[in-house]
Symmetry: C7
Subunit: 243 residues, 7 copies
Amino acid sequence: MPKRFRRRVPELGEGGPILLTERRRQRTETLGSVLRSIASILILGTAVLMMLQRLGFNLAPLLASASVVGVAVGFGAQNIVKDFLAGVFMLLEDQYGVGDVIDVGQAKGTVEAVSLRITRLRDINGAVWYVRNGEITRVGNESQGWARAVLDIPVAYTADVSRVREVLRETAVRMWEDEAYHGAVILEEPEVWGVEALSTDSVVMRVVVKTVPLKQWEVARELRVRVKQALDEEGFAVAAAAT
Amino acid sequence: MPKRFRRRVPELGEGGPILLTERRRQRTETLGSVLRSIASILILGTAVLMMLQRLGFNLAPLLASASVVGVAVGFGAQNIVKDFLAGVFMLLEDQYGVGDVIDVGQAKGTVEAVSLRITRLRDINGAVWYVRNGEITRVGNESQGWARAVLDIPVAYTADVSRVREVLRETAVRMWEDEAYHGAVILEEPEVWGVEALSTDSVVMRVVVKTVPLKQWEVARELRVRVKQALDEEGFAVAAAAT
Amino acid sequence: MPKRFRRRVPELGEGGPILLTERRRQRTETLGSVLRSIASILILGTAVLMMLQRLGFNLAPLLASASVVGVAVGFGAQNIVKDFLAGVFMLLEDQYGVGDVIDVGQAKGTVEAVSLRITRLRDINGAVWYVRNGEITRVGNESQGWARAVLDIPVAYTADVSRVREVLRETAVRMWEDEAYHGAVILEEPEVWGVEALSTDSVVMRVVVKTVPLKQWEVARELRVRVKQALDEEGFAVAAAAT
Amino acid sequence: MPKRFRRRVPELGEGGPILLTERRRQRTETLGSVLRSIASILILGTAVLMMLQRLGFNLAPLLASASVVGVAVGFGAQNIVKDFLAGVFMLLEDQYGVGDVIDVGQAKGTVEAVSLRITRLRDINGAVWYVRNGEITRVGNESQGWARAVLDIPVAYTADVSRVREVLRETAVRMWEDEAYHGAVILEEPEVWGVEALSTDSVVMRVVVKTVPLKQWEVARELRVRVKQALDEEGFAVAAAAT
Amino acid sequence: MPKRFRRRVPELGEGGPILLTERRRQRTETLGSVLRSIASILILGTAVLMMLQRLGFNLAPLLASASVVGVAVGFGAQNIVKDFLAGVFMLLEDQYGVGDVIDVGQAKGTVEAVSLRITRLRDINGAVWYVRNGEITRVGNESQGWARAVLDIPVAYTADVSRVREVLRETAVRMWEDEAYHGAVILEEPEVWGVEALSTDSVVMRVVVKTVPLKQWEVARELRVRVKQALDEEGFAVAAAAT
Amino acid sequence: MPKRFRRRVPELGEGGPILLTERRRQRTETLGSVLRSIASILILGTAVLMMLQRLGFNLAPLLASASVVGVAVGFGAQNIVKDFLAGVFMLLEDQYGVGDVIDVGQAKGTVEAVSLRITRLRDINGAVWYVRNGEITRVGNESQGWARAVLDIPVAYTADVSRVREVLRETAVRMWEDEAYHGAVILEEPEVWGVEALSTDSVVMRVVVKTVPLKQWEVARELRVRVKQALDEEGFAVAAAAT
Amino acid sequence: MPKRFRRRVPELGEGGPILLTERRRQRTETLGSVLRSIASILILGTAVLMMLQRLGFNLAPLLASASVVGVAVGFGAQNIVKDFLAGVFMLLEDQYGVGDVIDVGQAKGTVEAVSLRITRLRDINGAVWYVRNGEITRVGNESQGWARAVLDIPVAYTADVSRVREVLRETAVRMWEDEAYHGAVILEEPEVWGVEALSTDSVVMRVVVKTVPLKQWEVARELRVRVKQALDEEGFAVAAAAT
């Protein structure tokens, strides 16, 4: 099992990012230890068997009698092998590392440790999840390169769509120009994509903001407050969402 | 693992289309490297085994003793093989390439990289998805040839159906004739297909617009605004959808 | 992979039907190429192996050492075989061809290409679906022989059932007698099957119209408009459906 | 593939019942052709192999080299075998024949053709379904011996239960005594089983009518109209169903 | 396939119970025929093979060449074997017999025939269900020993709970003392278990009556009518159920 | 199949607990008979085969020819083996015995009989369930050591939370001090855990009572009545639950 | 099966934490006994087989005849092997121990015993769950390091968001400063993360409190009461949640 490192992930209340070189070192070390283990097992196993044969032990009955047990063990162990192989490829492809926030379908949270057989996550409620690598068919990594906060704001059907659009754009851009967010948190000028849905009660407008990874939730929360205030000032109310 | 290219996909805020010749070059390169790898493994493996035999090593005990492990490893590794074979066929059939927006069931987004074992997508929230090729039973590619924006507009039951139809058609056609869209975005004259559903409160009219790939969402958003304005002017209100 | 043909399917806005002889030619060609490929692989493979043996190469170690890999590859490849065999039988049984509108469970749309391993569909939104033949357990083909438009019209509980029945029948029959539909689109005199459901608010009447394949949606849309007008004239309102 | 026969099924608007002797003939023919095919394959195969051996061809390398391919093909082909075996047993047990209305879980409709590998159905919308026999784990055949129309009629909570019961019984019995239905369609005197559910708004009464197969839907529709009229006359309204 | 017997099941409108000795005879006969078949197949098969060998036929090529086919057939046939073995154990354990009302998950109804491979049921709508024994993972038999009618009666929240309890108990006991039910239908004095759920609108009381098998539905229907009348007389209304 | 014992379970209206020594005797007996059976099968089988060989019968053709059938039977029979092995471990680990109320996922009820292959349950409606031991992945046994009645009582949002808490505690404690329950039924002083949920309409309070196994439902029913009366007296109404 | 220890888990009303050294001792003991068992089985088995061979018994027929049975037993037993291997790795990785509160998907509760094949849990209702280790694909352990109470409080849309935020923060911090909670229960100063959702009726505010493991539910309950009181005092009402 590889050594375990932690890094602070603000959203989940823990550590800062570990250095990239550190992460590469981790992966190299893990894979190195894997190769060493496989090599020693193969060499030792063959040596033992050849020695036994030299000494005149007849291995045939042992091996033959092992057939029923062998099938059971072989099939029973395939999950372990599957987990390890999935772990090896996952490391080779660098799908995620300690400190990333990932969604593996069976659990979602911050990676606390990556071993060949299992991945250890900590979810938002503080529960620790042990997920077998072989059971992970797809991984969603929310901490690579950039993230995007997507807000769908429903306004009353009677509201002036182009004015609402303008208000939303101004609010988002003003937040972007805010020193606390500019560049360090929000990466690009926010956009208002337009009318996502139309219902008898409401018009749903979509606003998107491209952010630094793991900051999308914080940005969305802040923007929600600002949008609410801006709409309130203009006399537009948030409407019931078009379900 | 093949080299990774990116191209801009407007909807998801990234790059423009890569050239077709470039894409063909990628596929050829990937498949070439695959064949090279297989050939070298086969030749090397046989060579090693024949050498060992020449030197008088008895391989039987090694191979025999490998049976239990072999079953476990063989079965455990079948997923890896499945992923690679699926990747090879997927490349041969050119199902998707870097920059396409695809739906593989487990995730939906812009393809960022295609390797033999996994496909890497980036979804609308900026999360990066690693999906094993063998787990993909069907692929929906939204960037091939053309796309279609389908809008179901519910209007009040009491509205004059033929007049609503006319308004919708005119609005859609006027948008088509708009220079910003004509030809470059909207490929054909939009059509109003008619009454999709009938309920106690509403009549649902369907409007369809054939567009350039990846522009269908933008067109739908713009058309929603225009339809709303046109209906408002005529005094028809959008009704609650017939669920 | 077989050649790909397209034919216009009005509902989805494309081409006309290809000729039956053309379709038969396609199938024959595809199956012929399959047989040729299998034959050449078998003959070549055996030839190579016999030659190697003549030249004194001992194949035993190669084949034996292939056992672990063999299990993994054999199992990993079973999906590919499954897909091909399913494709062969599907072609032999002529379940569907290019231009048909089919529902394969994982996707629904117009068939754009049929190969031995995958079927390519284009759905109503213009997305192209690649579905592996082996994953298709049942196919629903909506373009064989005839189709039926089934309309369930809910009317107010207080309405005179026999009069409503009469109005519905007359409306449907008048549409059938319309030159634009008679024979070329609607195949038989439409029928009103009667009261499908009874609730506190409504009585649901079922009207059925037998049409030429792929015209059922168009007919249903037109009939909905006509039924609405007829009921409005008689003073019967469409009621909330009995859920 | 066996010859295909159709018989009229009134509910779905097609043909009349085929004769029982005809159906037996079909089954015998199908099974006979199966046995013939198996016998010829076995005899031919053995003959070819023995001939090759006489002529001095060494089959060992061919067969040995076939092992990896063999596993893949063997496993890939198991579905085909499963389908055929399921088809044979289904025919032997006479689970359904052409013209029956069956529910195989994946589709529901009138059987149009029965072959060893697939069953072809036509559903109410005219779509043709191809279902692999091996995927059918249970079959519901609605055309054997008799059928039963089951109506759950909700009446207002305040209604006199015994009077409602009486009205329902009389209405159903009068329909039974109707010449158009007596004997030829409705097999036995209809029964009112009593109060199925009790809610704050309604009392749900169950009426059951035993009919000739495939006539249950027609009888249910007619009975719904008659029950509505009878209840209206007595001043009992159909209530909201107790969900 | 074993002979098929029917017995009347009042609920589903058919036959009376078959004698226990008859049922034992059926099972013995079925299992006897199974053993006879297996014995003859084994003896015949071995005889044929030994004869062929005596006559100098070399079976090796036949058997060897059968390997690919063998895997496919072996795997494809495992479902058939599974069905038969499940059938044998099901008969040995006497889980159900002809005339029982059972729930096998995939269908629910009266058993019409039990064979080694499939079980034939007839459901309440008269549809005949063929269910493969191997697909049945659990069986619920509603016709063994005794059954229990469980009624959950919601009354208004403001109602006097102890009085309601008393009324329910009296009503159920009076029904029990009714000659038509005492002993022959209802086995024990009915019980009122008490308050099952508490909501803002209602208090749900549970009444249970132990009955002869297959009479539970009839008893529940009758008791519902009586409870309604008793509550109406006392001025307690059935309330909306606490969902 | 082991002998079957019953014990009275008050909730489900049957028997009293069987003695622990009796239960241990049952398990010993069952496992003893299992070992005896396995031993005799192994000894007999080997004896027969060795005898046949001594007498000069060549078993090779029989065994070889059994390969196709062997695969089918072997795979088909694996479920039976799985069931038996699961049964053996379940008995060794004493997961449940006759008279326990268990939830095996596929059914829930009182255990009536435990055999190596199946477990027989009787549910609350009197239906008898036969569940294969191999299909049981987890067992919930509600009759071991102690049980807990958990009541979530919603009160109006405006109610005084600390007063409601006090009333609930007093009611539960008074019931605990009741001679009919003290010690023999309720094991510990009941606790009020506090506010489980908060909604616009209600505050949900949780009360828990630790009871003797199988008495939790009875205690919950009685406590519901008492809580209702206590709240009514204090003028607090049970509110709509916060869904 | 390992010895079983209990420790008090306050939430579920039982024991205190066992010492870490004690837990390590348990794991060492369990794994030691496993290794001992495997070693003795291997040595004994080989010894017996070699002895038999020395004595001239021919094992070939026994082993050969075991093939059909062997496949069945081998496959049937694979689940047992899977369970044991999963148990071994789970112990090696120390995923959970006696006294932890875990969620294994099929059940959730306090661990009462950990053996190699099964894990025994006790849920909140007192039901004991036996879960096979091989069926556990992921484990959520709520008792490692720390836990977090997450409260989503909906307030009226018209409420002053920044004031509400202040009130929530103050309430949470005052609870943290409370001696009964400071440090021993609540680990860090609570935070108000902000607006999680925005609807026509409400603004949902999220408050999070980091606590000692297994205390999160108690803290959440207490905080709910305090938040309600604080909001009531300020005149803000808890609103309907934005669903």
